[in-house]
Each structure stands twice: as C-alpha cells, then as structure tokens.
Subunit: 306 residues, 2 copies
C-alpha cells in the first residue's frame, strides 16, 4: 500500500558553518519521499524543468520512489532556493527563491496513484492540496503540513482544506498562529476542532509533541554530535512519520487505531530528521541503511526510558 507524496522538487544552494554547496537536489517532496521510502512504497507528485538531472531522478528511483507523477516541463527550469544558516544553525536567511516551473504547479495525479490509501500533502497552496486530495478516492489516512504564509494570507482556503485531513504537522509558532492560542495544549484543541484529529507539533532540535483527543506524547529531539546541514530535517520528520504509519497500515479512525503506532511514528520521524542533518542535502540517504535506523531507534529508547 503506497504513500502518495505531493510537494516541491527543487535545487538548493546552502551555506552552513560546515561548508557550502551551490546547487544540490532538494525540495520538500524529495526529502519526504526519501525518508518515507525506508518504510513504505512511495509515489511522488511534483514538477521539474528539463534541467532536472538524470542522476537525481536515479537517486529517487534507487529508493523505489515512483516518478510517473513527476511532471517535466520542456524548456522550464526547476524551482531554485538558496539560503545561509546562522552560526548555531537555528536561523537561516533566504538569499534567492526562483519558483520557475513550480509557480504554475497544478498537480494532476496519474490514474495509478488515485486508489492508493496514503497521502501526504507537502507545503503548497491549500487549494492545490485540496485538489490533490479530491483526486484520490480510497484514502485511509491523509494529512500534511503548511506554513505561516498560508495561515496568514490564505486562512479561509486553508481552513476549508484542513477539514479533510486526518492529521496536521506544524511547528510551535504556526500552531499558535493558526489557533490564536499561546498554550500548546489549547492550541492543539483549537486545531483539532478545525478537522485534523491528530496534531504533531515539531519543535526542531527540541523534539516533537503528538496530540490526539485527550492524549499526548512528548518526544525529545535526538541529540546529534554534529549538525552539518538542517535543510530538509522537518520534511524528513514528515516522511518518517507518515512512512511508518503507511508501512504499518494504520488508519486513524479505523479498527487499527493504535496510539502506540502514532508514538512510534513520531520517533521514526525524529530519527529520519536527525539522519538528514548529518550530511549536506540528501547525501545521507545515499548510504543510510535500515540497520542504522533500527539502531538509532534503540538508542532513542535507551536515552528516554526511565
């Protein structure tokens, strides 16, 4: 049972205190798909120009990520973003954003994608997220993320979109902005009333909190020895979280509902985010093995149990 992932596929220029790369594979859908691919088959939906390198397509294909839904615009250029991180890597400044073919992205799902049970909607225009969801007719679990820009300037559209989601991934500040509540538990209650029964609040290096009904689960962030490049870590969290749930065949409102599965999904999200930071861009996924993921899961357990 495959997971459909929609979002940006891009080239990034990144500078961190550990070095700089002018142009490398990036984009939310790329990171989400790579992380999720360790847990479940993935089908990607996105758009690129004809500058999209065959070696980048090959990396995705090597992880068995289906690219039928990756539209290539002849004569178009792929979305490009560049930014520079602060010394502690907790802040970053965008240097350049060239939307290119992504500006006209209007995702049409291949027929072979439409009956898949799992859908993750990356951070794109809420109306497009809704359109993608409407194209799928056998969903068991659908959710995604969003950002300040849509919360502030496309609020009505976002609220309409969220009605159809089972879960929302969001960061602390966005949860407060969306709900108008500064306390996280109250913010979660407000957002759950908008539609998504489960909420995952990402807190960067500090971990994540999962809230569903009256229950919550708190996961601290994995303590890395060295952060090379945090680009994509939040998306890899999403990929690990959703990929694990899809791989387990979880449905939030079905008989299989299990809060324990959701907890483990949060931990796998944290783990995939932590691996992502160990190399520039997507490089860690060129070598990452299932055994390394399982070892980190056990380490996480031993560092949090009491």
């Amino acid at each position: 049972m495959a997971l459909v992932v929609v979002g940006s596929v891009a080239y990034d220029g990144v500078e961190t205190p550990h070095g700089a790369v002018d142009r490398m594979l990036g984009g939310a859908a790329t990171y989400i798909s790579l992380a999720a691919s360790y847990f479940t088959p993935v089908k990607l939906v996105g758009v690129v120009g004809d500058d999209f390198a065959s070696e980048d397509a090959a990396l995705l294909a090597s992880r068995d990520i289906e690219l039928t839904g990756l539209e290539r615009v002849p004569g178009g250029k792929t979305f490009f973003w560049s930014g520079v991180y602060s010394a502690d890597m907790n802040d970053r400044t965008t240097l350049r954003t060239d939307l290119n073919v992504f500006a006209d992205f209007n995702p049409q799902l291949p027929e072979s994608y439409r009956s898949e049970p799992y859908l993750f909607l990356g951070n794109i225009q809420p109306a497009l997220q809704r359109s993608v969801r409407a194209q799928m007719h056998r969903l068991r679990l659908a959710g995604g993320d969003t950002m300040n820009y849509w919360i502030n300037d496309f609020r009505a559209e976002l609220l309409e979109t969220l009605k159809g989601w089972d879960f929302l991934l969001i960061n602390d500040g966005e949860a407060r902005l969306l709900s108008g509540q500064s306390n996280l538990r109250r913010a979660a209650a407000g957002i759950q009333a908008m539609g998504p029964r489960a909420l995952v609040v990402k807190r960067g290096e500090y971990g994540a909190v999962l809230l569903r009904g009256g229950c919550h689960f708190m996961a601290p962030g994995y303590l890395l020895e060295e952060v090379f490049d945090p680009t994509g870590a939040g998306d890899c969290f999403a990929g690990g979280f959703m990929g694990y749930l899809a791989g387990r065949g979880v449905a939030l409102d079905g008989a299989e509902v299990d809060f324990a599965d959701l907890r483990r999904a949060v931990i796998y999200g944290s783990i995939m985010g932590s691996f992502c930071c160990e190399r520039f861009g997507v490089d860690r996924f060129r070598t990452l093995t299932h055994a390394e993921i399982e070892a980190r899961y056990q380490e996480f357990k031993s560092c949090t149990a009491f």
Copy 2:
C-alpha cells in the same frame, strides 16, 4: 541524611499575563528548598533582613526546612527583585533589583549543617560557593548552578569552584558560553573536563538533558495546560533533582551509582518545575501533596513511553 541548600531568599514583585503580585516570598534557595523538601530533609543557608515575615518563615518550617542557617540582619532589608513577563512568558524584563542584605552575604554554616552529605549551591558568587563547600567535611554529593554573569566576568573563579562539584545544572545558552561549543554534546564533554562529571542542561518548556560520561538521557518538558507564573521553575527543577538524589542516598562516585536514579531525578526536577508554574510564586507548595507528585510522575511516564 539532609540536603544543605545555599542561595538567595528574597521578596519578588511579579507581573505575568495572569496578574500581578507586588511582594511575595521568592529567591532561589526558597524555591530549591521547598521543592527538595518533598524528597529529603532540607537545611537552608541564606540571609534576610528583619522585614522577613514570620508567616514566610512559617511556610518554610511547615515543610520541615531547617532555618538555623538563615541569618537575620537587624535593621537590614531582604533582597528584593521585580520583573514583568512577556505575553508568551518566555521572556522577562527586570524592573528592580535591590540586593540589600544579600550584597554582603558571606555564608557561615551552623555546626549542625557541616557533616551533612548533600549540598546544593544556588547561583551566588563562585568564591562564596567554594567557601560553603569547604565548610562541609563529609560530602557524598555536591553541585549547583551558575549564570552568564559569573561565566563572563568571574570565569577563573568559577572554573576553580567547578573542580569540586559532582554535577552542574545549567541552561542551553550558559552551557555553550561556558564551554565555547555550540553543539550540546560537545559542550557537555568540555564542561565535564572542568570537574562536574554529570551535567544537567535545562531547556525551559522543552525539558532537560542529562549527560554523564558517554551516556545521556533526554526528558521533554511537561506540557502544562496553563502557566501562571514561571518564576522559580528552574530552581524547583534543581530542588526536585537534588532532593530526589539525596532522598535516595545516591553518591555519584560510590557503589550506589545508578544512571536510572539520575534519570528519575531529572523527571522529578521537571515535575517540581511544572507544579511551580501553576500558581504565583511559591503558592503551589502550600497545597502540593506527595500523591499529586506521584500522579504526575505516572502521567509523565505514560506521555513519554513508546
């Protein structure tokens, strides 16, 4: 086996989004002692003026906190601090600091304190912390906290002081400042080389990390429904942490060394910090019961296990 606590005893004026109190009992040693008193007998060392109210002494005494070491300066006034919190309570602005009798604090321990096995050194001048430690001659476990001011302006003295500590409680930013390392694991290794074999890094609402040798333990912050007043939360963390270790008879280098005890101490620290925030100043400790503490411990367990 009692715990000796040294630090400020004060009156505070506090304004939060939930209200304001002009003058109420406060000070690091007060909060540390109150929190620790749920786990072990406490002997306080501090200084107040003769404006120190008998009802405040009575509150401390009601928790069996020994006050023989609380010096009263005739004609003197008690340390006063006031501040106002931001809307999200993550920042505060100091409005007034009147050191009063605290400016000449030179702690002399009563004879009855000097053979106790446990010592927590609150945030005072490093030379005074060292002097207190030197007055005790049967210590099993000693540690404390410090702040940016001492790290920046009294560095040599602080380094001399830290040599004699078993553990240090510190926040993220202070750990980075003291070690010169931005990565927390590297910062911890640097600080452990200065003396304290165990390091507890407090991260406010995000929890705490315990590091000792190659092991670490990560605890997320307790998710409160409502934060009334965060004043003293960090000190209550310290009191819960150290009080639990003292109550268990733990020595960091003895045969009883048990990383599991240290983990639980961090959780009890988080719990005592969380209770502190539920009312203004020390008010929560007027009613808090052991049963409530144990219930929160179980809740913490159920919200973090996976």
